[in-house]
Amino acid sequence: MTAISFKSVTLGHGRRRTLEKASFEVAPGDFIGLLGANGAGKTTLLRSLLGLLPPIEGAIEVMGSRPSRGNRRIGYVPQIHRAFSELHLIGRDLLVGSVAGLRFGWPFSIGADQRDVGRVLDLVEGTSLAQRPISSLSGGERQRLLIAQALLGRPSMLLLDEPLVSLDPNHQMGVVELVRRVQKEFGMTVVFSSHELTPLLGSIDGVLYLGHRSVALGAVDDVITAECLSRLYNAPIEVVRAGGRIFVVAAGEVRPGGHAHAPV
C-alpha cells in the first residue's frame, strides 16, 4: 500500500489550476520535502490530502482510501498567522482545546485528553514552554508546540505547511531535526512544505517539486537538476551547487522577467 497516491489529478480553485493531470506515489514512512515557489500550490496540495479540497479530476488515495475530512490518522501543522502569534493563551490550553474541541457539551476536558497532551509535550520536550502564553514564545517554540499538537491522537502521517517561514537558520534546523526524530520514532510518513531546500537537505528521503502546474518526485539529486526542473517549468533552469547549498536560477535572459529563484 502506498501512503499517498495521485492518479492524473487536477487541483485548483475556480478557474485557476495549480496542478494538472499529475501522477505520483509516496511510499509509507518517507520524509518528503514539498518544494515550490510561493503560490505554486503547496497548501492546495496539502488541503487535498486532508479532504478539504476535492480534485477537479483524477483520483487521490491517502493510506489506501479517499481523503476525508477529520481523518484521525493525519496530523496537520497549518501555517501560522499573525493573530495566532499574538494570543494571550498558554500553549497547554491550546492543545487541550484542540482535543476537547472535537466534541460538543460538557465536561470541558477529560483525563484522557490531558494524558495525551502530556505525552506529546514530552515528545517535543515542550512541557515547560507550554505553560507560557503563546505571544511570549519565539517562532521556533511556537512550531514545537504545533508539532506536538499534530502528534495528538498518534497519527501515522504528518503534513506540515511551511513551518520554517520566518525562522532563523538555527531554529529551522531545530524544527527539521525534531520532525525527523519523531518521524523515525513512529515510522510516520511526512510531507513537509517549504520554499527553501537547504534546511531540509540531509533529512529528507525525497523531494516533491511543484512548478508550473506539474510535479516531480524523487531523490534530491534526481529532481533538483537542470534537466528535470527545466522540464517542469518548461523554461531553461540552472542548478548551482555551492558550499553544501543548492541554488535554482532561471537561465540567462531567456525568460524576460524570470527572477532568480530564492536559493532552495
Binding site: 475530512r69 494571550h88 484542540s98 474541541g101 466534541r103
Partner: protein, 266 residues
C-alpha cells in the same frame, strides 16, 4: 436604595446581562468579531422601534432583528470580513428606518433616547423574566458549543481539517451574540453595547492567559462595572450608562497599563 422596586429590577437585570455579555463578549473579542456585535445592535434599533409602532414589546422586536442580522453575518462567514463598508451601510439604513418608525409613533419622544443610550431604571418585571429566559438559552447553548468554538476560533484551518465546521459553529455563535446584544441594549442602549460586551472581556484578556479564568474575570468585571454604575447613578443622579462606560474604560486602561508593565518589567 434597594427598597425601590425599580432598583431591585435594575440590579437583577444587570446581573443577567453581565453574565451573558461577559461570557459571550469574551469569545467575541477572542474571535476578533467586535464590529459584528456593534453592527447587530444598530440593526436592532429598527426592530425595536418597529415593535413599538406595532404595539409589541421592543425587546422582542430588537431580539428578532439582531438574530436576523446575526444569522446573515454568520452565513456570510469569512466573506463578511473586510466588508466594513457594506455592513456600515446596512447599519446606517437600520438607524434611518428606526428614525422613520419613531417619526410615525409621535406619542413617545423619550423612546429614542431610551433605546440609544439605555434606561436600566425603566426595566419592568415582565421584561426581566424575558431577559432571564433569553440569557439562560444563550448561556446553555454557549456551553454546548464552547469547545468546538474555542478550537475554531484559535485554529480554524486545523479545526476544519479535523472535521469540525468553523462555518456552522461560527453561525451558531453569531446567533448567541445577537441574543447577548439584545440583552445588553436593555442596560446601556444600542450605541453603548461595546461597553458591556467588549470592555470587560478585553480587560480580562489582558489580565489572564487562561480561558476559564479570563471568562470568569470578564463576567465579574462586567458585573462590577454595571452594579457600581447603578450605585453611582443613584447617588449622583447622572445617567447609569455614563457611569458604566466610564468605569469600563478606566478598568481597560488600568489593565492595559498593568500588562504592559509586567511585560516590559520582565
Amino acid at each position: 436604595m434597594l427598597q425601590y422596586d425599580f432598583m431591585q429590577n435594575a440590579f437583577a437585570a444587570t446581573f443577567i446581562v453581565a453574565c451573558v455579555a461577559g461570557t459571550i463578549g469574551y469569545f467575541m473579542v477572542l474571535r476578533g468579531q467586535t464590529f459584528a456585535g456593534h453592527a447587530m445592535s444598530h440593526v436592532g434599533f429598527a426592530g425595536a422601534t418597529g415593535a413599538v409602532l406595532l404595539g409589541v414589546s421592543p425587546l422582542l422586536g430588537l431580539t428578532l432583528f439582531t438574530m436576523t442580522a446575526g444569522l446573515g453575518i454568520g452565513l456570510l462567514g469569512e466573506r463578511a470580513q473586510g466588508r466594513d463598508v457594506a455592513i456600515g451601510i446596512v447599519l446606517s439604513l437600520s438607524l434611518g428606518l428606526g428614525l422613520l418608525f419613531l417619526n410615525f409613533y409621535t406619542a413617545f419622544a423619550g423612546q429614542a433616547t431610551t433605546l440609544l443610550f439605555g434606561n436600566i431604571l425603566g426595566v419592568g418585571r415582565s421584561t426581566l423574566w424575558l431577559m432571564l429566559a433569553i440569557g439562560l438559552v444563550a448561556l446553555l447553548a454557549l456551553g454546548a458549543i464552547a469547545r468546538p468554538l474555542i478550537f475554531c476560533s484559535l485554529q480554524p484551518e486545523l479545526a476544519e481539517a479535523k472535521g469540525v465546521s468553523p462555518r456552522a459553529i461560527g453561525t451558531v455563535f453569531m446567533l448567541l451574540v445577537s441574543l447577548a446584544v439584545a440583552e445588553s441594549v436593555q442596560v446601556v442602549g444600542i450605541l453603548l453595547v461595546f461597553t458591556l460586551m467588549v470592555a470587560p472581556a478585553a480587560t480580562a484578556m489582558h489580565l489572564s492567559s487562561k480561558i476559564t479564568t479570563a471568562v470568569a474575570l470578564s463576567v465579574l468585571l462586567a458585573l462590577a462595572e454595571a452594579w457600581l454604575g447603578l450605585v453611582l447613578a443613584y447617588y449622583t443622579n447622572w445617567p447609569t450608562s455614563f457611569w458604566i462606560t466610564f468605569i469600563g474604560a478606566a478598568c481597560y486602561l488600568m489593565a492595559w497599563g498593568l500588562s504592559r508593565q509586567l511585560r516590559t518589567g520582565r
